[in-house]
């Protein structure tokens, strides 16, 4: 194959630059928090989500009384989810489910997906359900909260 001409090389290099800028620019919002979450920006300081969220996760019976969690292996990934309650713990968890999320609602969506899948693997007395309550008061965002309930089969 004949090597490309200098013009072709220039066009290829320029295309690479333009494509990256086109991907990054729409996400460039100086008022967005967290400030480093540009997925295609090159600031190396893309730090953890600076959200301030708390999460309460419970397995409850038909009367909304808490039930004990099923026995989990020591390396079960859901342990981290069950134990994540405080803002720093939620921040650490967010890296595993919604890295570079722009809004608290994005984190909620990711949690909903994960917990709905997990609820289908759980077994508890008839009428039991998995409940999740997420409350966020993150900087530069309006307060956010959501509560979800997924039935758990016997």
């Amino acid at each position: 194959m004949a090597p490309p001409s200098p013009r072709a090389l220039a066009a290829m290099a320029l295309s690479l630059l333009v494509a990256q800028l086109c991907l990054a620019t729409p996400r460039f919002d100086r008022h967005r928090s967290p400030p480093f979450s540009g997925r295609f920006s090159w600031s190396m300081f893309a730090g953890p989500l600076t959200g301030r969220c708390t999460h309460e996760l419970h397995l409850v019976d038909v009367g909304d009384h808490p039930l004990p969690w099923p026995t989990l292996r020591h390396d079960d990934p859901m342990r981290a989810v069950i134990d994540a309650r405080t803002p720093p713990e939620i921040v650490r968890l967010s890296w595993r489910v919604a890295p570079y999320a722009d809004r608290d609602a994005d984190l909620a969506l990711a949690l909903d997906d994960l917990l709905s899948r997990w609820s289908r693997t759980l077994h508890a007395p008839a009428g039991s359900s998995l409940t999740s309550e997420l409350r966020c008061a993150s900087p530069h965002q309006p307060p956010f909260s959501r509560a979800r309930r997924w039935p758990v089969s016997p």
Partner: protein, 383 residues
Amino acid sequence: MKLFRDADGHAALTLQAGLSVLIALGLWNATAEWSPILALWSVGRPAWLALAPRALVVAMFLCALALCAGVRVRAFALTLAALAAALYALAPAVYHNNYYLLWLMTLALAMAPHPDHSLAWITAADKPAPRPWPPALAVFVRAQVALVYWVSVAVKLSHPMWGGTGHAIQWITTTRAPDAHFGLVNPLLQPLLSQPVLAALSEWAIVGLELCLPLLLFNPRTRRLGVALGVAMHAVMQEWLFPQVFSFVMLLGYFAFIDGGDRAFTVHYDPRNRLDRALAAHFPRVDWMGRTRWLPRDAPGPLALDDRGTERRDLSALRLLATLSPVTVLAYAALALLAPGADTVLTLPRAAVENLIVAAVSLAFVPGLLDRPVARLRATLDD
């Protein structure tokens, strides 16, 4: 300055082989980061689907090994890039800016028309000169390196947490670094960088450096200064914040700026000295850029390297030689990336161990500190 100055084939093969190794190391390192992510992704999914992301990762790693071996580089690079895109589509939580950069380099390997490197050429002591080839890969990498620096400047200048205020630096040293790693550098820097004035000054220094680095690298007259400043910046950042893959892709990318017009260095070695003989025999294996010529001395004398009319001897010569080989960057990358799941090494935090090793090696780069001990050591190796 010419952006598309013809590089000789050395640059093409160096970048191809170096990037291949970094891709493999980066993927290896990613396995530790991705493991908890993929474990959560697999929760509640059928067993066969739960295996899909892991199967993609294994396939990607096999492609990376093929790249390292120089087997049909463009085809395997394209396959690897497609597999990575499929993994991202399946499990978007695996995304990280570092791997995006690595993916772009993989695309560049796939697109740039270059002959394949080979393990035989990479490891040969007597490398035949590759034929000249238009510098497509070098052009991509130069443009990418410049883009990374300049977009970083744009981000830093436009966001309110940066913008020259120093707040980001203060947040990094007081919150992010202590939470992320147990390295030794942040405790040393924190008392200084938590001060608003020093934090702001350091932020402006980084912005200024990132703005100027591409210009220094593109210009042959200032390239050596650019490389020195860039290496210092990335080494400090790596040992402070451990950006990992990013550090080494950028450092390897500096080799893209070297072109066929850059001169070779003549090294006069003493064949009666065991260290010199070993260097003369084996350094050409790692001199992928083909920038050294080794000439035996007729009479006993020091290891000497001619640097623009200045003679560098012994350790000073070794310092310059270390900067001429991309294997130096790859060795640093291996130190940082080869044990991704290890939190401790010999009961010490892994980050701290890396800091100590890099600090020890850096002592050799302090002019005058170890020159005489090394010269005396070398003298003991005379036959």
